[in-house]
């Protein structure tokens, strides 16, 4: 049992380094790990940059898996639920940062810890049991091979506690698949970067938490005033209302709530799905036919997770949760599948086996296109007839990926690695960025969105800064007011987008450092929580007064740290910030954005401007030595100089 510091506010003040090889736990002050950062992603990336050797493989025991809860996690701050998972990533070979909601991270803090740094490799499958300031190593041999749902049920039963909170991997993580994720509460995935494979390489099946302690805040009344202001903004926001009404799928999945939003179709060969097909899988259809309950992450008033029960057809009996817009895009429009129950089944399989929905759906779309073009034969596809739109073929192929059997052994590598292994010019059809699978809509038409996805240090994803202002069609006045440019709401224009991206990069890094959900922020709606709101919450919670400017500077530090790490560990430079060739060569064939593609010369101009805004070197796209010093990243300067000499 450890005694938490008496005067720690926001943070518990206590973290732990867990050595799986030696089965030892070292208790450390959180302040020692997080350095100048609040916590969450910022602190996780700092720890990785300080302690993971550059020559270590992501699967080596020397790699670290950092599970971090920020200072606002577990408080009354809205949606204060996120655990950030930071490690040297399997997909990129460099940065991996992913976060998940649910109830695990608050429980970690109630159990007395802000961060866990997991190192080494257990001799046998192991799970960690965290209770009231104690961390125990437990045998997980009997759980190895179980799905995440089975693992959660079994551990809650064994420990006789339905409120035991679980973070676990499925069989895909055990096999160290690069598209394996870590699951929280059955349906919340830390999907990005192959973190599930890293956890599998450590023989770590699960981390179970239960806690009974309090979280103090420095200025309770002032904190609650900030909470009330934040909740009022959430209650007044139309976009937050759409999330509440129908989740991310309702707002932006496969055509969005009004059917006009671009989506990916047939492995991004097209970006317009017919309204008739989109209508078959829209959220209100799922709601009417299958919805049983709405579920929320910890302390969230938007409850965007939907629990469905399928009662008819080939998937009758399926009960699952957590379908989002990316699921319906990846397993719906991008595979031309209009059977909503099949999409639910695919989502459930991913959650159970611990596969990232984006990675799994993207690699399957890649296989379908290879089959369409005769690059992959039916024999090689285990006899499956991979015709677009066939839900049975999609589910059958996904089952192979879940088990890593047959062609699934290839596909579980993700499209980038699988295309290298297969050859046959299949790489052109693999939509990836820095080795990471992409499951993203509107990359040809929405230029700022695309820039955010392609420059993300963790390899794609729209949650590292890609602005959603283009989808919102922000007016020029509002755009100017927030971003100092008039074009944030005009999808097809390249001008002004780097300015908007840089703003959201900083904001996202700040939100991730707090442990709150990004959906509470201006990214969802510019009228939602802005940097001053997060600064108020943080200051009142911790007693560490920060200004809005200081908060955004902290975000910029994190962006620089990740950019540096991405180069030091994986060698990524400017040339890795370009879109896949297909998006520059093939135009959208029809619809509102017919003719749109990404123009290389215009892209170059965006990159030049983007690097200039960060004060990065234009030729390499990297921070300078002086820049690192200015950002307080002095621990990287020496190794940076050595690394640049090899560039």
């Amino acid at each position: 049992m450890i005694a938490p510091p008496q005067q720690s506010y926001g943070w518990t003040g206590v973290s732990a380094v867990v050595d799986l090889t030696l089965e030892e736990v070292r208790i450390v002050p959180t302040a020692e790990l997080r350095g100048p950062f609040p916590g969450g992603r910022a602190a996780g990336q700092l720890v990785v940059s300080q302690h993971v050797p550059r020559d270590a493989s992501p699967l080596d025991p020397q790699n670290l898996l950092v599970l971090g809860a920020g200072p606002l996690v577990g408080t009354a701050a809205p949606a204060s639920s996120r655990v950030s998972i930071d490690t040297k990533g399997l997909t990129t070979g460099g940065v991996s940062s992913s976060n998940a909601g649910g109830h695990w991270a608050p429980e970690l803090k109630y159990a007395g810890f802000d961060m866990l740094v997991v190192e080494g490799r257990a001799k046998e499958p192991t799970y960690l049991l965290i209770e009231e300031g104690r961390i125990a190593f437990r045998d997980a041999t009997h759980l190895w091979g179980s799905t995440t749902w089975e693992t959660e049920t079994a551990l809650r039963q064994v420990h006789g506690d339905q409120r035991l909170q679980l973070l676990s991997i499925g069989p895909a993580g055990e096999r160290m698949s690069p598209i394996a994720c870590i699951m929280v509460d059955r349906a919340r995935a830390a999907g990005h970067g192959g973190c599930g494979g890293v956890m599998g390489s450590k023989n770590l099946k699960a981390v179970a938490c239960r806690g009974g302690g309090p979280i103090r805040v420095a200025s309770p009344e002032s904190f609650m005033d900030s909470v009330r202001r934040a909740e009022e903004k959430i209650a007044a926001s139309r976009s937050a209302g759409l999330l509440r009404e129908g989740g991310t799928h309702f707002r932006s999945g496969a055509g969005g709530f009004d059917g006009t939003r671009p989506t990916t179709v047939r492995n991004s060969q097209d970006e317009v799905w017919t309204p008739e097909r989109a209508a078959m899988v829209r959220e209100p259809v799922l709601r009417a036919r299958y919805e049983v309950a709405r579920l929320a992450c910890f302390n969230c008033s938007m409850y965007c997770s939907h629990y469905y029960h399928v009662t008819d057809g080939p998937f009758a009996g399926l009960a699952s949760e957590g379908v989002h817009s990316n699921t319906v895009r990846g397993f719906g429009s991008n595979l031309d599948v209009t059977d909503p129950a099949a999409i639910l089944q695919a989502n459930a399989l991913c959650n159970q086996y611990g596969l990232d929905v984006d990675g799994a759906s993207n690699v399957i779309a890649w296989a379908f296109e290879l089959y369409q073009r005769g690059i992959l034969t039916r024999d090689e596809a285990d006899g499956l007839d991979l015709r677009w739109g066939d839900p049975r073929a999609v589910v059958a192929l996904l089952e192979r990926v879940c088990h890593g059997e047959g062609i699934g052994a290839l596909l579980q590598l993700g499209a980038g690695r699988a295309s290298k292994q297969l050859g046959r010019d299949s790489a052109y059809y693999a939509l990836t960025s820095k080795g990471h699978d992409l499951n993203e809509s509107a990359m040809r038409s929405h230029k700022g969105w695309a820039l955010g996805i392609m420059t993300s240090a963790r390899g794609g994803g729209h949650l590292n800064g890609a602005p959603s202002t283009e989808f919102a069609r922000l007016s020029s006045d509002v755009s100017m007011q927030h971003f100092g440019v008039t074009t944030a709401g005009i999808p097809q224009l390249y001008e002004g987008k780097p300015e908007v991206l840089v703003y959201f990069e900083r904001l996202k890094a700040a939100v991730d450092a707090m442990g709150m959900c990004y959906f509470t922020s201006q990214w969802t709606d510019v009228a939602l929580l802005d940097p001053s709101d997060y600064a108020s919450l943080y200051s009142a919670a911790t007693g560490d007064e920060v200004s809005t400017g200081e908060l955004m500077r902290m975000g910029e530090q994190v962006v620089n740290l990740e950019r540096a790490l991405s180069y030091l560990h994986a060698g990524y430079t400017r040339e890795n910030d370009y879109p896949p060739e297909r998006l520059m060569r093939e135009s959208i064939p029809r619809g509102d954005y017919a003719g749109e593609r990404l123009d290389r010369a215009q892209w170059d101009r965006m990159l030049d401007r983007y690097y200039a805004l960060h004060s990065w070197d234009a030729a390499s796209g990297l921070p300078t030595e002086d820049g690192l010093r200015r950002m307080g990243l002095t621990h990287l300067v020496q190794v940076w100089t050595e690394g640049l000499e090899r560039l």
Partner: protein, 90 residues
């Protein structure tokens, strides 16, 4: 059996636990909350067990609205429902 709590609307967010514990202790401490939420998967379906400790719940005496009721984003709770969970004392 609780009849006046809309359990089918509960999302399991536990906002009620946070505000209840904050009133009692000035900290965020779900274990110290008079109201407790347990989310149980019963595929197909999710069951929520809500309980209120009659010893520590005074329906936020002196305040216009019990804080758990005010904080609930989906109107699961009512005064009558909280009384019911406390053990029927009216």
């Amino acid at each position: 059996v609780v009849t006046q709590v809309a359990l089918d609307r509960c999302t399991g967010c536990r906002a009620c636990e946070l505000v209840c514990s904050f009133r009692a202790t000035g900290t965020f401490w779900p274990q110290a909350s008079a109201i407790q939420v347990a989310q149980l998967y019963q595929d197909p379906g999710v069951r929520f067990d809500l309980t209120v400790d009659p010893e520590s719940c005074d329906l936020c005496a002196g305040e216009p609205v019990p804080r758990c009721l005010e904080a609930c984003p989906r109107s699961v709770l009512s005064r009558a429902g909280i009384r019911e969970m406390r053990g029927g004392a009216q």
